[in-house]
Symmetry: D2
Subunit: 297 residues, 4 copies
């Protein structure tokens, strides 16, 4: 079980390194390069569908992306479930669905539905009441069958401007309600407020961060502040976007593919990733079996 | 209508430049950089699902990818439909479905189902009989409502080793049956056999090529051999794969995101692509309307 | 265009008869029996998925059901879109999606998200503010490309207990904002409050009703109160549920299928509905074409 | 595990009674009335999509239907997978997918792809070679992780006219290749050929039948011929079709719903099936929890 794997990693490792993916290929690359888990992020998944990160895609589409990853990868998938796509009943429904699909953890955040991306300038970042979010956490906790399945509560108090005291108060409330980890989100250029939160946090639940804006922070810094999980949420997407933009510009301006300088993977590397050779191997095994049974000489 | 646009481009331009995409984001980037049309290729779409390019994904999944592109882009989508996912009834069903979704053209190939990628070493490339493929083309032609919708017949005779005469014989048969264009596929390192085909071709249907292996060929060469459409089928995918591989290697080995050297797009560039600002603009328009109606002061 | 058909029917007929369906087969039966349009109702679609009618299914699943109906039927589909699945951005997104799929009209209601079925005893029926619902209607109106596409505003004021004055005030506000029709919902055993609404209504938009609870009302009564559309929302579902319950009870208690008394359609009737014979007809046409081309003697 | 349940039932019961369903609601009704397992049949699922039972729907759509049933029901789901949707690679892929979704068994048949319904007059019923079908069974057997997951091999030799000897020869070959049960299909009006098959069968695998055409056969007859599983594949669908046809005819010809005589289930019965009251119960539990935590007085 991948949920058990995630729990064990949280206990045994000083910090867990998680990287974002948006489809099965990017997830498999994250796994191949040695990360501990995969973040199925709604920003990146929305971007690949070319729709705003504003609760436009439905749970069904986010679920399909995360579920494809879970089918393909051996490491745990952590699914970013935005606000939970509704109230406690929706959260209850989604926990069953995600757990059944072999996803190891979900993360829900305490903003109003529909939400907007937390890093958008002038974005809408209203919080729902503590009580209403606690209700969602209780619903999630009651719905899960596998006790290792993790419910991560993401606190948007620092994003919304509600302040540190509110963030800490909510963290305690969410832990009491059954959250298995606390994700404290920040859009500051430095990790100061995240460190302040982590240092002030008296609970037992592990603290999780996404250092998109405070990208100079080091692993040692995070560990020294007892942060247990770091998520590189969107760099794979942004690298893919950048390289495709570069090669497209070159291709449209060039009279021959061979003059394009952007480095691309070989067809064979892609075949490898998609297990094309595996099919050929299985064909050979099948031939052996058919020989044994006398169908082929 | 995008199908009309594709027809007009084929008439007015010396050659049409088409580039492959695998999701709505890559399709939008292809459009943004000035290509004439988008190739929704089954190799690339299979790869992003991390499954072999061997008829493993179903029409439903390929359709969803192409349909997402059509919802997002203004330029025509050409959907790679492999072998047509079955017999004439399946082709008839798919033509209705793709045409309804605003896709401009489909391409079907004359290999047996399930197929394997044409560039795979020792891949299986058996041809179905000319008669059976003609039956699929007739079914496609009868099913389409919009006469501009294009049915591209892809000939695998050079891939399978059946030879030039077979390729030309089939091209004529497919045109007679109602194909709107002929895609001649080749896995040679040089364009020689593709040029031989184009020079020998006496039909009226435009010739289409995918120079993945003979990538030194120039646009002028293609034009001088009366080739009307060139498809760069998989370079966007391979660039994305390469850049994600590079950045993941750096991220896992680095103690801080800021030390990662791979160039990534900014959050703002992604917001732009996914029309995040459009939502903010619409919110402002909505406010104006609500003011007019007296709901806001 | 089916949206044009719906508009014309609304003008030319004294009342439009609409019947509920939940999948393509039930929709086709509704069409076959002579109704003017099909109601793709969220209660029935939720029931066939065996989940509560409480915003548990996502837009994606409701859309798939309505879209399947539109692919299959020639008469207009009216899609029940509950509360619009979020705010104005979600409504804008859904209108584009539904219109592209050839659906003729959508209906959204002024309850809070997530909603509960209006006929559920002690169900939650809180209204959102008039302003917030007006914002959704404006978003819908701006998003539609086909001016015949209809946006039906469903008023839940009588269900929620907000009263007749509120219902009428909202109807006017919704019409001013761009609603093309007003659905006044009621859970009373008699049509009195619906008639009072219709008689008091001074707007130009047609009035729509769903007489599930006041089922003794006659067409003439509705017409005499200038009601333009009546929706039999869930009777097909409830008949299917009842007949399947009866036959299952008989089958489990019988030692032979032939002793089961519940009337069932023949295999041939189902083949007819699913156009199985159409495939055989097309095979014959195909043979003719192949003969013409010399492939068959 | 439902697959274990199915295995145990096969051992302990004289015969297993399976009934067909096509969506989650019909599946739940089958469960409620006491059947041992649910047949997710491709004829019925195709019919509800209003497309021919001729490999027109893809694996994705059949899978979604079966998967919805598995999410909803506690009894085993047996998924009718037609010809396996391609070759051994496709069968391998589908077994992983279905097993992951909690489906207990799949059934594949030895006809060519695309197939046509076996009961269609003049339908196409060509068999693939024994070797090619054996290859699919081997692929299925290798792909399964849960050894209780069942692969049912459906023999179409009696349907296609290949005869009894061929049927028995294939049954032995399929069992040797790893099939867990043998479904012998027949379109005769009497069970004679099915009984002849069962009596001649020397293998250990349980024999399964679908008495659609020979519906006078009794359970005792089947048991006396050592048949271990009987599937009532399509009666729920045909009852639903018949009752909806009746009520639609009455509704279109009546001036009031109350005059319609066709019996329908109450709204409350549907609410019960879709667990609407469960949501209300959970709301109450949630309130209790919120009280405990001090959020409500």
């Amino acid at each position: 079980m991948k949920s058990e794997l995630l729990r064990k990693d949280l206990e045994s490792k000083s910090i867990i390194k998680v990287c974002g993916a948006f489809d099965a290929m990017s997830a498999k690359l994250v796994e191949y390069h040695g990360f501990d888990a995969i973040w199925a992020g709604s920003f990146a998944i929305s971007a690949t569908h070319a729709v705003p990160d504003a609760s436009i895609l439905t749970m069904t589409e986010f679920f399909d992306a995360a579920s494809n990853m879970a089918e393909t990868c051996k490491i745990p998938i952590i699914a970013d479930c935005d606000t939970g796509y509704g109230g406690p009943s929706n959260v209850s429904h989604l926990v069953k669905k995600y757990e059944n699909a072999g996803i190891a953890a979900i993360c829900i955040e305490d903003k109003t539905f529909p939400k907007q991306n937390s890093l958008l300038e002038n974005g809408q970042n209203d919080l729902i009441s503590e009580k209403d979010f606690v209700a969602k956490i209780i619903a999630a906790k009651e719905a899960k069958q596998d006790q290792n399945f993790m419910v991560i509560a993401r606190i948007e108090a620092l994003i919304s401007g509600a302040g540190m005291d509110e963030a800490l108060k909510r963290a305690t409330a969410y832990e009491n309600a059954g959250a298995d980890a606390i994700l404290i989100h920040s859009k500051k250029k430095t990790p100061d407020e995240v460190f302040e939160f982590a240092d002030s946090w008296k609970g037992n639940s592990p603290v999780v961060v996404i250092p998109t804006t405070y990208d100079t922070v080091t692993l040692d810094d995070l560990i020294s502040h007892k942060i247990k999980m770091v998520i590189h949420a969107n760099q794979t997407l942004r690298a893919a976007h950048a390289s495709m933009s570069r090669i497209l510009k070159q291709m449209i301006n060039s009279d021959s593919l061979s003059k394009v300088k952007e480095e691309i993977s070989s067809m064979e590397e892609i075949f490898e990733l998609q297990e094309m050779y595996n099919i050929k191997d299985k064909e050979k095994e099948l031939e052996k079996e058919l020989k044994k049974l006398g169908y082929i000489n």
